[in-house]
């Protein structure tokens, strides 16, 4: 594992672990509602970071990331609801099925022009949405599928630690992946796919792998989150969920490692506390994204970059 010895990995790992240790103390001082908002924020950090792996680093836009999260959640939920399967089998099954669907879809469309993935995933997400709503005898449709909670309690604190741990593991895994040879191939494909291909990279295989990994992570996050919110509805597949992920990544910094982390949490907190303004706050965030894309495309990560460099040059 060359990736684990690279300085970028070590530096990111140190910062992630320090932040995680500090975050361990939050439930001591915060109210249950704040802890709940933070659990949801961790969920979005995982979704945003894994989507960024695909879109920001590889240049492949999936518009079904929310759908893969829902596939994970519904797989685990339905296994438990109809056959009483344990949560601890349901969650890995959900992640595996999401990854397998990503693999199948990727094999079909990723050898073609970039835009096909976005179109096919959009159609896929809407199809899953329609199916989950229509087949209500099996999925309970809009009535909502009630699933077992992970720890048999609705107190958010244990889920907070679970999601904190999961976020740390996912982020470290993504960092290792980005610093690995596969990560270099990913960036080569994003910059110039034809050139990458001419240098002997099997670009289709790299894209299929990254797409499957990113979908499986979404499925995993969705499955665990499903056992926290305990009622699943097709609302999870509303396109505004996908749009939220895009907004988070772009505000944080598209194609940067830290971007989704610093983008997802504040956006989710803001959306929660401004919920009484309903649709208007989504409109404001959309406008912010348009302005950001128009003028800098760097987001919060662009502001943090000089601080990050200074932090490590002083130490070195």
């Amino acid at each position: 594992m060359i990736a684990l010895r690279s300085p970028t990995f070590r530096r990111s790992a140190i910062v992630i672990l320090v932040a995680a240790v500090l975050l361990l103390f939050v439930p001591l001082i915060a109210s249950n509602f704040v802890v709940h908002v933070l659990v949801a924020s961790f969920y979005y950090v995982i979704l945003a970071a894994s989507w960024n792996l695909l879109a920001g680093y590889t240049g492949q836009f999936s518009l079904a990331h929310h759908a893969f999260a829902a596939v994970g959640a519904y797989t685990s939920g339905l296994l438990g609801y109809h056959w009483g399967v344990s949560v601890w089998i349901g969650i890995p099954a959900g992640a595996l099925l999401a990854g397998a669907m990503g693999y199948g879809l990727g094999r079909l469309v990723l050898r073609m022009r970039t835009i096909y993935l976005a179109i096919a995933t959009w159609a896929f997400a809407e199809t899953v949405h329609v199916y989950l709503t229509a087949d209500y005898t099996f999925t309970r449709g809009e009535l909502g599928l009630s699933v077992k909670s992970l720890y048999g309690t609705l107190n958010p604190t244990p889920y907070y630690f679970t999601f904190l741990g999961l976020t740390v593991i996912v982020l470290l895994g993504l960092r290792a992946l980005i610093d690995s040879p596969l990560g270099y191939f990913m960036r080569a494909i994003k910059d110039d796919e034809l050139r990458a291909k001419s240098l002997g990279i099997d670009t289709t295989m790299v894209k299929v792998r990254v797409f499957s990994i990113s979908s499986a992570i979404a499925g995993l996050a969705g499955a665990v989150y499903g056992h926290y919110i305990v009622t699943l509805t097709p609302q999870m597949l509303d396109f505004s969920e996908m749009a939220k992920i895009v907004v988070m990544v772009v505000i944080g910094g598209f194609g940067t490692f830290i971007g989704p982390v610093v983008g997802a949490a504040p956006v989710n907190v803001a959306l929660t506390y401004l919920a009484s303004y309903g649709e208007w706050n989504l409109a404001v965030f959309a406008a912010v994204v348009i302005v950001l894309m128009r003028f800098s495309m760097e987001g919060i990560a662009g502001l943090l970059a000089p601080l990050w460099r200074r932090l490590w040059t002083r130490n070195a």
Binding site: V109, T114, I115, A123, E126, L194, F239, V250, I290
Partner: protein, 297 residues
Amino acid sequence: MFSTELVIQTAISGVMIGVLYALMALGITFIYSIMRMVNWAMGEFYMIGSYLQYMLVAWALGPDLWWLAVLISTAGVFVLGLVVQWGLIKPIFKKPPELRDDYATVVTLALLLFLRSVATGLAGPNQFTPGSNLPMVMIGPMPMAGARVAAFLFALAALGIFWAVLRYTWHGLALRAASQSRVGVQTAGIDVLSVDRIAFGIGVALAGLAGALLAPVFLVYPTNGLITTVKGFEIVVIGGLGSIPGALIAGVLLGLMESFGAAFVDSAYQNIYGFILVIAILVLRPTGLFGERGREA
């Protein structure tokens, strides 16, 4: 259950709705073939077209002048398309080439979210219908809703005009040339950015037209463009990205598949049949029925 009349009626309604879906697909594929980008906010232009139609019919013109309302709504969406292209899409060419795809995708997705949220904020989640006092039309022994027949005929006329403009006018020639080579068109002294503006305007106007025509058939609400847009994208994959005859034929094919699926299998899954067709096409003929193998530049 399998009477001839039912089969014929299903076929007719499939073709009729298929042509309207084809309008949507044509808009997507037309913008793509000239600007090499996908406009993800197509459904929102459809939605705006349907709201304009509703407002004109309900508040200003009355249901008898629905055809005038359709023309005004389409023109309104065309103008909006010009503004959006000028403000948001044109700056794409100030970005480095490797970031253009990212920019186009993210900006049109954000535009989608923006327009949809603003529509919900202004009009609420209510559903409206502009109504229609067109009488039932008898096609042979089968009755058909007047609004659907009118929408079908209107769409056919629009497609005819679209084809004639592309085929016989100077602007049509410029548009076709730009779809073959953006560089070549510039060497011939044509301002490719103004060609882009017209292409984007026409593309979204086709979506607006579909929205205005379908307003009395499907309802008017903030996310009403979603299902039609998904179908538009499915048609584009089936027919082949960038192919105009492909969009038409695939549109009718999808309409037929849907109406037969709804009539003979299960109408609850009506919106899923198209995706099955998409997967089948991707497995058997990945470039679509009429698509050429990807030429990148």
